[in-house]
C-alpha cells in the first residue's frame, strides 16, 4: 500500500537539491545617500530639521513623520552623544560564542532628537552605563566607503 508507506530511513527519502541564485543591491535612498556621503567625505553626521515640529531627525528623514512636511533643512549633528540603552552580546549571529563580549548601544546624538545603534569600544561591559557620554570614532578617510561601519565604534568621552 503505497500511500501507507512511511520513509523510515532518512537515506531512503529522495530529494532534489538546488540553489536559487539571488543577489540584491540596496541603496540608502535620497536622505540616506546624503547622510552616508557626508560620513564618507567629511566624517560628519547630517540630520534634517522640521521647522514646524522643532525636531531634528537623526538619521535624516525626507519627510517629517509627524506633520508630513518635506524636510529641506540639513543641519550638522555632533558626533558626541549619550548612551540611551545598551546590550552586551556574548554570541554572534550564528550563535557561536564570542571571545570578547560586544556592547551594542543606542546612542542619542547631541543636537538631535534621534541617534544611532552602534558598537561601544574602549569600554568594558562592567563600566558601561546608561547616560554615559560617548563620541564616534571614524575610520581613516581612505578606508571609509559610505556605510554605517565607517564609524568604528563609539568610545567613552572621558573629561
Amino acid at each position: 500500500m503505497a500511500l501507507l508507506e512511511k520513509v523510515d530511513k532518512l537515506g531512503k527519502a529522495i530529494s532534489w537539491h538546488g540553489n536559487i541564485p539571488v543577489e540584491s543591491r540596496y541603496t540608502a535612498g535620497i536622505a540616506g545617500e546624503r547622510f552616508f556621503r557626508e560620513i564618507k567625505d567629511n566624517a560628519r553626521f547630517l540630520g534634517t530639521r522640521c521647522p514646524n515640529c522643532d525636531l531634528t531627525y537623526m538619521p535624516p528623514m525626507m519627510y517629517c513623520e509627524r506633520c508630513f512636511t518635506r524636510l529641506e533643512e540639513w543641519v550638522e549633528v555632533a558626533s558626541t552623544g549619550t548612551v540611551h540603552t545598551y546590550t552586551v552580546l556574548h554570541v554572534d549571529l550564528d550563535g557561536t560564542p564570542l571571545a570578547e563580549p560586544e556592547i551594542i548601544a543606542f546612542v542619542k546624538l547631541d543636537g538631535s532628537d534621534g541617534g544611532l545603534v552602534h558598537r561601544l569600544g574602549q569600554v568594558s561591559s562592567e563600566e558601561v552605563e546608561i547616560g554615559m557620554r560617548v563620541e564616534a570614532i571614524f575610520k581613516a578617510k581612505g578606508e571609509r566607503e559610505g556605510s554605517i561601519l565607517d564609524i568604528e565604534y563609539f568610545k567613552p568621552r572621558r573629561l
Binding site: 503505497a2 538546488g18 540553489n19 540616506g32 545617500e33 556605510s147
Partner: protein, 168 residues
C-alpha cells in the same frame, strides 16, 4: 492614470551609477538553497531507477498499472494497491524531432523526445524520455524500444539514469 502623470516620481538608477560609484549601496546574496522531497511514490521510483529497474504501481479497482508511480489512482481516487516491476522495453506512443535545445541553441542532429509506453504498464501509459541510436527518419509511432542504462556505479536515482531508449 498614466495620461495624467507626465513625470513619475522616484530616482531612476542605471547600472553605470553603481559601477561608477555615483550611488552608495550594499550588496546582499541570500542563501536560497532548497531540498525538494520527491515524495513516497516518485521517491521509490527514483530509488528503483538507481537499481536499474522501472517500477510502476497498480490500482486493483481499475485494473490499471501506471508509471511513473503515484500514491492515489486518479480514476477512482483510491490508494494505489501494489507495486509492480515493469520491463525496460516499450513502444513509442508519440515523438518529436527537436532541432532547438532547451536553452534555444540550434542543433544539426535532432534530439528525439518521445513518450514510451512501458511494457507491463496499461496501454497508453508511459514516460517521456529520449530516443537515440536511431536515424531520425526511421522513427515511427509503434516502434519497439529498449532502455539504455548508465553503468550501475554512475546511477544516482534520477530519470537520467536511463540515458535514452534505442530501437529493439
Amino acid at each position: 492614470m498614466t495620461a495624467k502623470i507626465k513625470e513619475f516620481p522616484g530616482t531612476p538608477l542605471a547600472e553605470s551609477d553603481f559601477e561608477e560609484g555615483n550611488v552608495l549601496f550594499t550588496r546582499w546574496t541570500p542563501r536560497a538553497e532548497y531540498a525538494w522531497d520527491a515524495g513516497v511514490a516518485i521517491g521509490r521510483y527514483l530509488a528503483e531507477l538507481k537499481e536499474g529497474r522501472i517500477i510502476g504501481v497498480r490500482c486493483r479497482h481499475c485494473r490499471r498499472t501506471v508509471v511513473p508511480p503515484r500514491t492515489v489512482c486518479e480514476w477512482c481516487f483510491k490508494p494505489m494497491s501494489e507495486w509492480v516491476y515493469l520491463q525496460d522495453t516499450g513502444t513509442v506512443n508519440t515523438f518529436s524531432l527537436c532541432y532547438v535545445t532547451w536553452n534555444m541553441v540550434r542543433i544539426k542532429e535532432p534530439q528525439i523526445p518521445a513518450v514510451i509506453e512501458i511494457d507491463g504498464a496499461s496501454p497508453g501509459v508511459g514516460i517521456l524520455h529520449l530516443l537515440s541510436e536511431v536515424d531520425p527518419k526511421e522513427v515511427k509511432i509503434g516502434m519497439r524500444v529498449k532502455a539504455v542504462w548508465k553503468p550501475a556505479g554512475e546511477r544516482e536515482g534520477a530519470i537520467t539514469d536511463i540515458k535514452y531508449f534505442k530501437p529493439l
